[in-house]
């Protein structure tokens, strides 16, 4: 029936029924993400014929294959009604009758789709450290469908929250970015807590090349603290070039920031309120430190492999500089480091075993590396 219709002309624009156009004009606010208002908004808000004409094409371009939303409904109905109106009247009538029922069903089906869920066989509750969580979340994405697991992950209370939950039986797996203490174990006499080391996290303090070459190659904890609190504002105060200190602070919630803050203040929550420009992913840190003279930032140690910037060594109390090499991280000399664990109560079974085995498998270890941490294998090789 489509073949009978002639191609659309610009003058056909306004024959698309006004009700549908109105419906489409009302859609963008709720369906277009704040990151993509663009052409659709133009078309939907424009009163001009040309914009309305392009509306049809634009509807199509916004349909995502993964999210059949009301857009799809609106778009198909627009083009069909436009096509219908371009056919000869009898054919249009037929098309209208046949497809309207079909379309109503389609719309209903699309409306119902998001609410239907598959019955789950197994539920896995995981809680704890925000540092470990990204790895476990990625692993969960890989496991949910093939293993038919329902996995809930939350980071309430961080590492200590994770230990508490696994000890008291509220979770199947706990996530922790610190070692279990004897106190933790005695708190839960009924539980046999087993740590599974899935990786090691270390944080390097990286500076731009001009700072490193200008004389600042190592730093003490006190100096790092003074820089963080904006008490040192020029590199010449600690033997570097006469240049303003630019501190790119890892955004809150990043494990990297937590390690850094814990090193300076004992607990991340003790860190004083300061304002620095924030950076997110490791790629961003690398790019910004490389391109900004006088800059310093925290970066996962596994990313320090680029001559465009340099990692500072940490001066210990004896005045020995300790660079963030894999060997120093593995033997615990380098202070900004911590192990990453998932914790089970006894040997893992069932769904918990699937998750732990996956995390320790080569695929799981790749997820650990993808997050910027060191995998246990990497440490063993360098030792």
């Amino acid at each position: 029936m489509r073949s009978k219709s002639r191609p659309l002309h610009r003058s056909d624009t306004l024959v698309a029924s006004p009700a549908i156009l109105t419906a489409i004009r009302q859609l963008p606010d709720s369906y277009i993400s704040p990151t993509q208002p663009t052409a659709f908004q133009v078309a939907a808000t424009s009163t001009s014929q040309s914009a309305a004409f392009s509306l049809r094409q634009e509807c199509r371009s916004y349909i995502s294959p993964t999210q059949p939303t009301a857009f799809q409904v609106a778009a198909t109905s627009t083009s069909q009604s436009a096509a219908a109106l371009n056919c000869d009247p009898s054919a249009a009538g037929q098309l209208h009758k046949r497809s309207s029922l079909l379309r109503s069903y389609t719309i209903l089906a699309l409306a119902i789709l998001p609410f239907s869920t598959l019955p789950a066989q197994d539920t896995l509750r995981i809680t704890g450290s925000t540092t470990v969580a990204p790895v476990v979340e990625r692993a969960a994405e890989h496991l949910r469908e093939p293993a038919n697991l329902t996995i809930y992950i939350d980071t309430q209370g961080g590492s200590s929250g994770g230990i508490q939950a696994i000890g008291s039986g509220q979770a199947h797996i706990g996530m922790a970015s610190k070692q279990l203490t004897d106190k933790d174990r005695t708190r839960f006499p009924d539980a046999t807590l087993i740590e599974h080391a899935i990786g090691q996290d270390a944080v390097a303090l990286v500076v731009s090349r001009d700072v490193f070459d200008g004389g600042v190659q190592s730093i003490t904890r006190e100096q790092a603290q003074a820089i963080y609190e904006q008490k040192i504002t020029n590199w010449n105060e600690i033997g570097g070039p006469d240049r303003r200190v630019v501190f790119f602070n890892k955004e809150p919630g990043r494990g990297t920031w937590e390690v850094f803050a814990a090193w300076l203040y004992g607990k991340a929550s003790e860190a004083p309120p300061v304002n620095h420009p924030e950076v997110g992913a490791n790629e961003e840190v690398r790019a910004k430190v490389t391109r900004t003279p006088g800059s310093i930032s925290q970066l996962s140690a596994s990313w320090v492999n680029d001559p465009a910037f340099a990692a500072l060594a940490i001066l210990d109390d004896a005045g020995t500089p300790i660079p963030p090499t894999a060997a120093n991280i593995a033997n615990g000399e380098y202070p900004l480091s911590r192990p990453l664990y998932v914790i089970t109560n006894g040997e893992p079974t069932g769904a918990a075993k699937i998750m732990v085995d996956y995390l320790l498998s080569p695929q799981g270890q790749d997820l650990v590396r993808a997050q910027g941490y060191l995998a246990p294998d990497d440490l063993a090789v360098t030792q």
């Binding site: 009700a19 009301a70 309207s100 955004e251 809150p252 420009p277």
Partner: protein, 307 residues
């Protein structure tokens, strides 16, 4: 709904009682309106705890330290407003100039071609603009600002300039529409009275089209306020920067960059923090609604005048 019903042509209304499409489309329209109202209400209700916790400090103080339970969003409101205003000030004159060219000087076929190309620009995903901003704009601005010793190329100014480029096509094409809606006969009359082209534009087209042009600018403003990812990439995300001599060339934070950042995920476990994030959403909604509402009011004014 009422406007839908009044604009329907006779052939649809006569059958609407047994027309499933009419029924479904109305139901969907109603659903959308209800969803919008519900989400606004939900946003506001969720924001209530922080409103009672902070009071006026929420919009009157610039100290946002979520770890210390201090949620003063003034710096973000300032950031949002100033970035959008820079964008508007830079984009509107250029857009208007281009619109005068397409609408008043170009033959209609060329005009449509130029418009199509410019509207294509509006279809480029904002993250692409953001990446261009990271690659080119922030470096350029960093070099330009070197005498003033900026922290980096990520500044409110960078974000404003980037947004100006982004909203330019939107504003331009809407300005062109506004100018086109001025009846041809009036231009002819003006030419008949002996006015030349430039005089016709200044004394006939522009005065008639100004509410539409303002509406175009306000829609551009609405878009600029709501833009996230491109701004996120070049603004530096530094909290609590209030207006000062150097604030335009310092990193800053807008409501959208805060909402799009890492804090939204952290906030989920903490009712007060979450409520503060929701409050930012409310503030953003109010700012965008003001810009877009103004635009619609102005356009209503134009269409009534021209009718």
């Amino acid at each position: 709904m009422t406007s839908t019903a009044t604009t329907l042509p006779a052939w649809t209304t006569s059958h609407s009682k047994r027309d499933p499409i009419a029924f479904v489309s109305r139901a969907v329209t109603l659903l959308i309106a209800a969803a919008l109202l519900a989400s606004v209400a939900l946003l506001f209700v969720q924001a209530l705890p922080v409103i009672s916790h902070e009071g006026w400090r929420l919009v009157g103080a610039a100290d946002w330290f979520f770890r210390h339970e201090r949620f003063g969003a003034l710096a973000m409101i300032y950031g949002t407003a100033v970035v959008a205003l820079i964008a508007l000030l830079l984009a509107t004159p250029i857009a208007l100039g281009a619109a005068i060219c397409t609408s008043e000087y170009l033959p209609s076929k060329t005009r449509l071609a130029v418009k199509a190309i410019i509207e294509l620009l509006a279809g480029i995903p904002s993250v692409v603009y953001g990446l261009l901003g990271v690659l080119i704009l922030r470096e350029w601005i960093f070099h330009l600002l070197t005498p003033w010793n900026p922290i980096s190329g990520d500044t409110l100014l960078t974000a404003g300039v980037l947004l100006a480029i982004m909203i330019l096509p939107t504003v331009m094409t809407l300005c062109d529409d506004a100018l086109q809606s001025v009846p041809k006969r009036q231009r002819h009359a003006a030419r008949g009275l002996g006015l030349n082209r430039a005089e016709t534009i200044l004394s006939v087209s522009l005065p008639q089209a100004w509410p539409g042009i303002l509406a175009a600018a306000l829609l551009g403003l609405g878009r600029a306020i709501g833009e996230m990812i491109a701004v996120f990439l070049v603004i530096g995300r530094m909290d609590n920067q209030l207006p000062s001599l150097t604030s335009l060339i310092s990193p800053g934070q807008t409501l959208t960059t805060k909402l799009g950042g890492a804090e939204t995920f952290i906030a989920m476990g903490d009712p007060l923090h979450w409520s503060a994030i929701m409050a930012l959403g409310c503030l953003l909604l109010v700012m965008t609604a003001m810009a877009v509402g103004g635009a619609f009011a102005l356009r209503h004014l134009t269409t009534r005048r021209c009718a």
